[in-house]
């Protein structure tokens, strides 16, 4: 960060606080944009927008795009693009829908809804996604076909292989074990959510201070303790607020009654239960944490960023950039399959148009989240936040009755404005011309 000689004293003061806290300024901007969206729609909807029910819905709806956006960060950082993620999602969904409803039951001679069949289905789906991505990566890395072309072709090919796989029919999915992955049907309940939230908060605090100790052991400068404490406090606050809020969203009484009847019991008078954390959101958090660790703490992640920063330097440093490309796209494919599992469970069916145009939302989420298309720059948390901002916008607009075409227009404009603001900001800071 270069100092700006011309900035007013007030600005300089603020800059120092931000520098001391070592907050990514871009992250701060995104958080403020997110807050602005939330405040505007909260006022507009008279409070319904931030109600536990809507927060829950936004969280659940964000998951598939956010999972894929995590993989897209790696792809774009490595100076590639993947336009086929929506079609790969559809393809994986089709494979999983067919295996659990017809292929595997006929092979094993079991009924639909057998847990073993579902387990094998998930493994097949994830493996298929990984292989699909790997093929893309091989064409890009070893055959040197531009990723734009390979994945543009993939967009058409997989979308239509998907069509043939199901003969163009929708497949209804009712297995309760599958629906657990979707959101509303798979929640932890209030108690388990609180326990998990507290554990996560404890781990976050421990991680911050462990990293501080490690830096100190090598004699480096560290932030003042108050700065660490503020950061830790913020993170713990966000975790516990999120958990607490979702734990205030009650499961409808009629549904509870149905659940008790399914077990052959009568529902006790006055019984209530809360949703708490959805399993799909836990999957997203797990993906986000793991991808962040991979990006920052493994050689695989380091090489992806090096390749994006200077492909020749990466090659001359002895990094096998071709094999790396295959791995990046294979990981992207794996995450598409995971997103497909969540998406079909949430929709409780596989339809032909599942994941349609999702590639654009995924790329937009990564870019709004600060991933530079020129490569070398990007963060996982940024991409997840980008997906969240877009979903909040759409959800908010839907709630106040904005027509669908206009919703899409706004999302498109937000993408352009986000990148524009970033360019202006970098120019002012003297990071680019």
């Amino acid at each position: 960060m270069s100092d700006q000689g011309l900035s007013a004293p007030g600005t300089a003061q603020r800059r120092r606080v931000i520098d001391t806290l070592e907050i990514d300024v871009r992250l701060l901007g995104m958080l403020m944009a997110f807050a602005a969206v939330a405040v505007v729609f909260t006022i507009w909807t008279g409070g319904t927008f931030v109600g536990p029910r809507n927060v829950f819905n936004i969280a659940v709806q964000t998951v598939p795009v956010a999972i894929m956006a995590c993989g897209m960060v790696f792809v774009i950082v490595a100076r590639h693009i993947d336009l086929s993620v929506g079609s790969m999602l559809a393809m994986c969904s089709a494979i999983m829908a067919m295996s659990q409803t017809s292929w595997l039951p006929s092979v094993f001679g079991t009924e639909y809804g057998n847990p073993a069949v579902l387990a094998v289905t998930v493994v097949i789906g994830l493996a298929f996604g990984t292989v699909m991505g790997g093929v893309t990566g091989w064409l890009v890395g070893y055959q040197r076909i531009p990723s734009f072309i390979v994945t543009l072709g993939g967009l058409f090919v997989w979308r239509n292989v998907n069509w043939f796989t199901t003969n163009g029919q929708s497949v209804s999915l009712t297995d309760p074990n599958l629906l657990m992955f979707g959101g509303t049907e798979g929640v932890l309940g209030a108690t388990a959510s609180w326990v998990l939230g507290l554990i996560a908060a404890a781990i976050a605090v421990w991680a911050i201070f462990a990293s501080r100790r490690n830096k100190q052991s090598h004699g480096f400068m560290v932030k003042p303790v108050w700065a660490e404490a503020v950061m830790a406090g913020l993170i713990v606050g966000v975790i516990l607020f999120f958990v607490g809020w979702l734990s205030r969203y009650p499961v409808p009484a009629a549904k509870l009654k149905r659940l008790f009847e399914a077990r052959g019991e009568a529902m006790p008078e006055g019984y209530t239960a809360m949703h708490g954390l959805p399993i799909s959101v836990l999957i997203l958090i797990a993906v986000g944490v793991m991808m962040t660790v991979v990006a920052r703490k493994t050689t695989f992640g380091r090489y992806i960023f090096a390749m994006g920063g200077n492909p020749d330097a990466a090659e001359l440093s002895g990094i096998n950039t071709r094999a790396l490309t295959v791995k990046i796209f294979a990981l992207m494919g794996f995450l598409c399959a995971l997103a497909a599992l969540v998406a079909q469970a949430r929709l409780q069916s596989h339809g032909n148009d599942i994941g349609m145009l999702e590639e654009l939302r995924v790329i937009a989420a990564a870019v709004i989240g600060g991933t530079a298309l020129a490569g070398g720059v990007g963060t996982i948390y940024g991409a997840i936040l980008g997906a969240l901002i877009m979903q909040s916008l759409q959800s908010g607009m839907a709630m106040v009755g904005v027509d669908t075409p206009f919703q899409n227009i706004v999302v498109g404009l937000v993408l352009i404005i986000a990148v524009w603001v970033d360019i202006l900001y970098r120019k002012r800071l003297g990071l680019s011309k």
């Binding site: 090598h218 480096f220 920063g309 020749d312 330097a313 440093s317 002895g318 990094i319 070398g376």
Partner: protein, 252 residues
């Protein structure tokens, strides 16, 4: 004690063509421990191409490479590194978006339980930079924020840290100011004294006269000749570069 009698590197009859054009045509050069050999010639004379097949960036079409008397195959930069050959490229080959320590250890990260140990790498980077360029402070910013000389120190630190035996420097002072050029010159003397062999690709004839023990001149992909720098004048060398002929008093 450094054994200066056996060659560290022998490149024999190396040829490389690109689509019918002979970029390097049966060139033989060698390098002894504790010696600096300058590679000279016009742009396009084939110096960089020749040296890139030693650093693994290109593969030779014909010829032999011997390292300490053993014939070796160098198919990629990893092979070269395994033979303790380190290269400092003209373009510096740094990933601009990563910090100095990440660049220094790129491809050879220090790991602790499978996890990249950034703190340890930064500590090591501080140690080696303290030796090479004590004024260097910018450890936590991307190298794109560094000056030409600072970037050069990172590139050199990378070569020195991993105990190179053979160092290839492609115009190491091209982007540097006078003070930084002096720093690189002193470093070359120090590395030479430690017994490294250094190939120096250089355009500036004064640097060649000052830094090199021998000079090999190339023109149009062919070797014009190799001379002992103390037996010739800078005009002799310029004559070789321009006319492609050895000076009369040295011609056999």
């Amino acid at each position: 004690m450094i054994d200066r009698t056996k060659p560290l590197v022998e490149m024999r009859d190396i040829s490389i063509s690109f689509g019918g054009i002979k970029a390097v045509d049966r060139v033989s050069i060698d390098l002894y421990p504790g010696e600096v050999v300058g590679l000279l010639g016009h742009n396009g004379a084939g110096k960089s191409t020749l040296i890139k097949c030693l650093s693994g960036a290109y593969q030779k079409d014909a010829g032999q490479i011997l390292i300490s008397g053993q014939e070796v195959e160098i198919n990629n930069p990893r092979d070269a590194r395994d033979l303790n050959i380190e290269t400092i490229y003209q373009t510096l080959a740094l990933a601009d978006n990563l910090d100095a320590a990440s660049n220094l250890f790129l491809g050879r990260e220090i790991k602790k339980r499978g996890i990249v140990d950034d703190a340890k790498m930064e500590a090591e980077a501080r140690k080696i930079m303290g030796r090479l360029n004590p004024n260097f402070r910018k450890f936590s910013v991307p190298v794109s924020a560094l000056s030409g000389g600072q970037r050069q120190s990172v590139a050199i630190a990378r070569a020195v840290y991993f105990n190179a035996k053979i160092l290839i420097m492609d115009e190491p002072t091209a982007a540097l100011g006078p003070h930084e050029t002096q720093m690189v010159a002193e470093l070359i003397q120090e590395l030479k004294a430690q017994g490294l062999g250094i190939f120096l690709i250089e355009h500036d004839i004064h640097n060649v006269m000052k830094l090199c023990d021998r000079a090999s001149v190339m023109k149009n992909g062919q070797l014009v000749g190799t001379v002992n720098v103390k037996d010739v004048t800078d005009d002799d060398i310029l004559g070789m570069i321009i006319l492609g002929k050895k000076p009369a008093h040295l011609a056999a």
